[in-house]
Symmetry: C4
């Protein structure tokens, strides 16, 4: 089956020319990568007919998805148990938040998968319009290349961040082992690592290397989900903004040309513009929940990492990891916001062209088009609570300062709580096992 998948990707992608530069072909490998880790389990992605996109409830995809959600939830419950034992502080709650978040994201993507068919159909209609002769743009930088490059780069960085996180944990454990004189106790490094990292889980049943491997996979998957969410929004935004830009380029060429554009031309342009707006509405309706979750999650983790970085860390490795993690987080969040905001900007651009059209070419249709461009807020929104524009990013930055203040206050109040005495690991493990 693996060979089949690879062949499908290789063969189908290779015949890509400009006329087949659709969004669904471009995003296909990204969805495949996600499905390997059990997220967004839609079937029919290799078909060229958007109507074949569906959720196959008894497929491996969905089962993997549900298994990981299940394992994540189990992790979550044992983590709650652990926190009840050692107490909650501003910092040690973050693992629980991460778990809840990842399970929520996976569930929301499952829900979105059930609604994806409608979006896919609408999208293929829009793609058909914009791959036609009149809108074609001959540039090396096709939609497919843009999406592959962005997704590839961000996934690479996310991998780097995850590996660095593991290295950081290993380094901390090495220091602890040396400090506490556990060198004799710890023979199997992997076993020790897994026992510590999944301490909450292994309080409930004995260790086995299979289960350790499984939980490592689940943990990686959950980390991916979080990145997947942001990258997914970025890719959507790039694709939609590209379509608006094509309209802009198209009318720019005409407006600068010598032959006057007639009303028929503008009727077609406005109808195409409305099509992209409808697609955006459709997408917005479907992604609104994950948009909200993405904003909230990024806001929370940026505040948390600033809190971590602003305090004196013990080892150089910690400094390196937390700084890289914070920078990656900020970079990814800003990229997401700028990409999402670029839809708004691309949708406003045609106004510049319309403004310059001389009086002789003015017609009722142009008047309607101009009014529409001026007054409508064409942008992704978080369930209608806010529109994602550049101004929002600016006010988001102000919000982070406020929430950082709240977090610092909570951190000071919870000082001393949730603190584990050094070298007390094995005792704590015993405590959990005995249940009190």
């Amino acid at each position: 089956m693996f060979a089949k998948v690879v062949r499908k990707i290789l063969i189908l992608e290779s015949d890509l020319d400009n006329t087949h530069d659709t969004f669904h072909r471009a995003i296909r490998p990204f969805i495949v990568v996600g499905q390997l880790f059990g997220i967004f389990p839609i079937a029919g992605i290799f078909s060229n007919n958007a109507r074949h996109v569906r959720v196959d409830w008894f497929s491996v995809r969905v089962i993997l998805n549900l298994v990981i959600i299940g394992a994540g939830s189990f992790n979550m419950i044992t983590e709650i148990q652990r926190l009840r034992t050692i107490g909650i502080s501003a910092k040690n709650i973050n693992h629980l938040v991460f778990l809840i978040d990842a399970c929520l994201i996976s569930t929301l993507f499952l829900r979105m998968a059930t609604q994806w068919q409608r979006v896919a159909i609408k999208w293929s209609q829009v793609d058909k319009i914009f791959l036609s002769e009149s809108y074609r743009i001959c540039s090396w930088w096709t939609l497919k290349r843009k999406i592959w490059f962005t997704a590839g780069l961000l996934l690479l960085l996310a991998c780097g961040e995850h590996i660095l996180s593991i290295v950081n944990t290993l380094s901390d454990q090495q220091h602890e082992i040396r400090h506490c004189g556990w060198e004799q106790n710890v023979t199997d490094m992997f076993r020790h690592f897994a026992l510590r990292k999944f301490a909450n889980v292994y309080s409930y049943f004995p260790y086995s290397s299979y289960s350790a491997g499984f939980f490592m996979f689940v943990s990686s998957a959950l980390t991916l989900y979080w990145n997947y969410l942001d990258i997914f929004i970025i890719l959507l935004s790039i694709a939609i903004a590209t379509r608006f830009n094509q309209i802009h380029k198209h009318i720019q060429t005409i407006a600068q040309g010598v032959f006057a554009s007639n009303e028929q031309f503008w009727i077609r342009v406005r109808s195409d513009y409305v099509s992209v707006c409808e697609l955006l509405d459709e997408v917005d309706r479907v992604v609104s929940w994950i948009m909200l979750i993405s904003c909230a999650t990024n806001l929370y983790f940026i505040c948390l990492q600033i809190l971590n970085v602003s305090q004196k860390l013990r080892y150089v490795m910690n400094d390196v990891y937390y700084c890289f993690s914070l920078l990656f987080l900020i970079g990814r969040t800003v990229t997401m916001f700028l990409c999402a905001a670029s839809i708004h900007e691309a949708a406003k651009k045609p106004l510049d062209v319309v403004t310059k059209i001389p009086n002789s070419g003015w017609c009722v249709e142009l008047d309607r088009f101009a009014t529409q461009l001026k007054s409508e807020t064409v942008a992704l929104s978080g369930m209608g609570f806010f529109h994602i524009t550049r101004q929002l990013l600016f006010s988001m930055a102000g919000t982070i300062v406020t929430y950082e203040l709240v977090m610092l206050k909570f951190d000071r109040q919870s000082e001393g709580k949730g603190y584990i005495r050094p070298c007390s690991f094995f005792e704590i493990e015993k405590k959990w096992l005995t249940g009190k």
Copy 2:
């Protein structure tokens, strides 16, 4: 009289078909429930003629209303006296705020009742338009069913919250009785409960089971008022949003049809749209004060309950009650905001249809309609200070964080104040009775 009321409700409601699906018929049972607890004492609600709606100053309804306001005010004064004796803290002031709030709400509803006739007449005119053949929507989910379901569910939850609050108080008292060794002193549990709960009142005259029953009723009524306020706004919003949605559906059907709509059609649609806007203006003018009070109250109590929940509570029952109460409060407030904001959204929807109308069907009237849809902010407002849209809810959430910070500061400053030493109940009671 009771039988008469029930019969009226049963008979009149049973003949409901779509042509009689008016707002005033739908809201009738909700108003009756309110009047049993002495709020919103309008007469003539069983008549089908909106001109019969009036306030009958010498009716039982109004007298009950005034009696409860009187009892509430007396409660309020004795509570102020109690706070002067024991000192004010961020937490024990909440009962006073609740009493002031409830009396204010009841007074504002009485004032609104005197202005309701004009609203009722306007509403029946609008209902007439939208129950006509052209706007009729054949759906099981009629306005009456929507309103009955929403009101029923929220009233049930409010009852649950009130009962849980009493159970919580009882549980606290049980723990106290056991802790202080009062088992011999306390023989009549109801008497003890009433004496403690209305300690402020019973400092001024001796206990009797009749007066205890009366104050229990007053206390329940005041609790209801607060819920009544929010539910009332929710029901109003649902009814108005439904009318805007009917316009949307109506023009959507026409716009998708093959036969072109002429200017006469749009003249009628715009005039109907203006009618609903006028109704909204009328309603907005009348409910603006209770809208403001509702926002302020919900903001305050959410902050207070977060403060309560964020601190270590003594018993499990307290945890259960405060969590449920906070969730119910947030749920109710969010529902209210989303319903009120749905008016704004429903009023904007026709724009999507108008945008898609082809050039051939464009006319001056459509141009006016489009401009009106784009530029006017059709929404409920808190006296013009703010318009209730989804964006407001978002900025409200930010405000809660700021006020929570202020409240935490005040809570820390007032620490130790307003604290009653355990087992000192009877002494305090004596102290009040002696007046020093």
Copy 3:
């Protein structure tokens, strides 16, 4: 001269009928009261020709104005000296702020007086339009009566506040005299009062009852200025809002009538509307500085009085005074904002009428009028930094919470500073006299 003034007011005002209900006649007594205390020294207010309004640099009015500014500045300098001796705290700086503020207000009114002629001319033109037959409104509640009533009520309350402030100071001094056993030292109560109240001034030259009387007058004048500022803005706002309301009433009558309004009618209405907008622009340009000062001052003093009230006060008299003062302050500020915001609302009202005009009466002029009503922000502004609408009042309330937090922080930091040991008054006085 006094008799002449009174006669002029009595005679000229008595012949007021609706055709003479101009703003400058209505505001005349208010300006006279101000000039008795040396503020806004414009000459020619008794003439009916707006061109006679001017500043007469060598008149008694201007000289009185300059004398009081001079005395206020001297007061200010000695107060700075006093604060350098005893130290600055969040609370004792308020007298200095008050002095700077009052001198600034007086200077700004003097500057405004030099620009008033242009405003007066424009205003008399607008008044002429709106007192003509077509706009006349037969109501008992004329502009003159509105302005007299508002100004009278607010001036009365301001007097009350000032007297209460003096009573409060006297009561504090009585308590201090009794507490410190100064009964023998203090024989002349007025002398003691003046010496304490103007301690900063009397550190520099010996006491005399004439100078004490003079400084009492200056102090009263400065207190008046602050109220004068707010009342002046309120009166301006009422007058302009009245004109916008006349337009609304005028077109409402026409729009409901049976005979269709022709384009000529709308050309005249729009031109009148533009005239009032031009007047508003003129006024806005002239009052922008005092508008800014008024907002900043009210914000500061509301925060300060909340700080004062929120802390435990020593005597009942203090509680009474500070509560009344805070309530008066909030009441005056809210009134000012609501009046200023009412311009914005009155200017938007004609839109409701224009929306309802049927298609048959629609014309290009109406289209221009509708667009203008929708898109322009017709409102008073604080130098273009903000427009005064109801929404601003709402966000102002939020700002007060933030600034209150800053003030509380500064109050805690400056605790113990600027504190004068009880009964140390005569020593301190000596210290100032010796200069160290």
Copy 4:
């Protein structure tokens, strides 16, 4: 070469009459001054042909620029080293921020220089339009005089601030020398000054008077950059706002005249208006980064200087310097904002004229012009994150309060850190030299 430059400025500038009042001639001396300190190294500024503007990578200008950036970066790295030794506090981090900032500004100006040709060409086109007969304004206050006066005044004040800063440092050192009894050690005052001021640098190699002179020059240059940035934006804004004002004056004259303006006239006006808008877009795209940096820098340093001023300073000289510096900083920032905001205001002004045009002269072109004036936000923007209008300045002021609170918190947390024991200078120097 120097003589050549001076002659070029003198001769070319002297023949300025109104027809040659272009932006690039006016700004020429300012650019020359900047290039003497190695910033904005564009060549071809003496040519009248905008196409000659370019960056000459192997010219003295660019080399000087790069040398200073290099020296600044070296300074930066040694400062980081110094801070790692003594610890970071809210106050001693400011020198590092200043260095990073200055190097960033210089780099951004270099980047901007490479894009300047396009702006220059567009600008000379616009200037050509507005220096033609119809737009000519005969006023003594030409664009050149406005720009020279503003730039001269601000540069003078900046020089004053820099000199005062040096005097302040010298005075501190004098006090320290006297206090620690170093009179014998310190013989060469300049050497001591340089050693202390560039302590971070001289930890790495021995002192020489040449290098001290060089670092003094670099330090002055970096200080200039910061002022240069703000003044540059101010000059740009004045030039663009002047063009918008010319349009306003032009149509005002016509609109008040007796002869009716025909559609041809408005076609030309609107096309000129669009030209200035296009120029603004071009400029905005190029300066957006330095705009952002300017806002952030000014915000940070205002907060820092308020922090400095709000605390007890040791000597009178410090008080004088910090107060002057804070006032200059606020003054410069407010000027920059008001100038940048004046573009927005000047661009809106024509609306007043258009509103008053009578119905008879109304045409489609005027309708388009009016709509454009109403709905577009014509203003400089910080990369689209915010538009610079007067409202922004207002909300900026609110932001400063919030950030000041954060800074105070950080200052209190870092108390005691980064503190150098008095008279320990030589020891510290030794410590750095020994590297630990």
